[in-house]
Symmetry: C2
Subunit: 147 residues, 2 copies
């Protein structure tokens, strides 16, 4: 498992907009990735966080979760996002965190098994952003891994 | 109708991440807004455009379409995004443009009528991003206007 600072350096180097978004890695475990991002870098005309930035940070959190998990595999692979949906439920008005969770063991194992056997797997991941302990953003992304 | 450079200045000033995304305004008409964005600012580890950036620029294009249309109204108003879905169909590997179109006259008039009568209206807008004349991204956003 890459240490969180290794993941952070990877993101800032290879997906440079992550640096402009003010993303830093709070947690990079196999079952959960938490990214934080800056309010001021993502402020909009209403002094809330721009919706596109919320989607970007949620996407990075889910992508990172797969990255952290697949990094240990010997075989090279590629992760592609194919679709995402985001519900904006409350405005975000401060620095924020996107939390991506590994889905149920069943879904995760199916994904890995498909990747082993057919060199491709597809999985739906969720991420959330809270504001004062209330759900502010609910994100779902569909990711395909190819090896 | 604000000239495209007025819209561009507005975006860069009030939604500063738009500047980091390398957004510029190509067209700002009542029936169509076209924003362009930089490849290099949004590159990822696969040398394609990061999916979060594609969503951000599509969101800005749709938001700008409503902004351009509502700017003429006397009454103050607010535009809020409540939901969006994006399909990533082809990788984007160059500078790109997001095109937002005003929906059918029927839908648009219903939106404006609701906004007049009930001080709120809701509308679903679409944006597309093409790559070599092929559809690369299909975006749909639901926006609420309040006045």
């Amino acid at each position: 498992v890459p240490h969180q600072s290794v993941l952070e350096t990877y993101l800032h180097t290879h997906i440079p907009i992550s640096k402009a978004l003010g993303v830093s890695v709070v947690k990079a475990h196999l079952d959960q990735v938490i990214l934080s991002a800056s309010f001021l870098a993502n402020i909009n005309h209403k002094k809330t966080v721009f919706g596109g930035s919320l989607q970007s940070v949620a996407t990075l959190a889910c992508w990172s979760l797969i990255y952290v998990n697949l990094k240990q595999r010997a075989m090279p692979y590629e992760i592609v996002i194919t679709r995402s949906t985001i519900d904006y439920m409350q405005p975000v008005i401060s620095d924020f965190q996107a939390v991506a969770e590994r889905p149920s063991e069943d879904m995760w194992c199916t994904f890995l098994r498909c990747l082993e056997r057919r060199q491709k797997g597809r999985i739906e991941l969720g991420a959330t952003i809270e504001q004062n302990d209330q759900l502010a953003v609910r994100y779902t992304g569909t990711f395909a891994a190819l090896s």
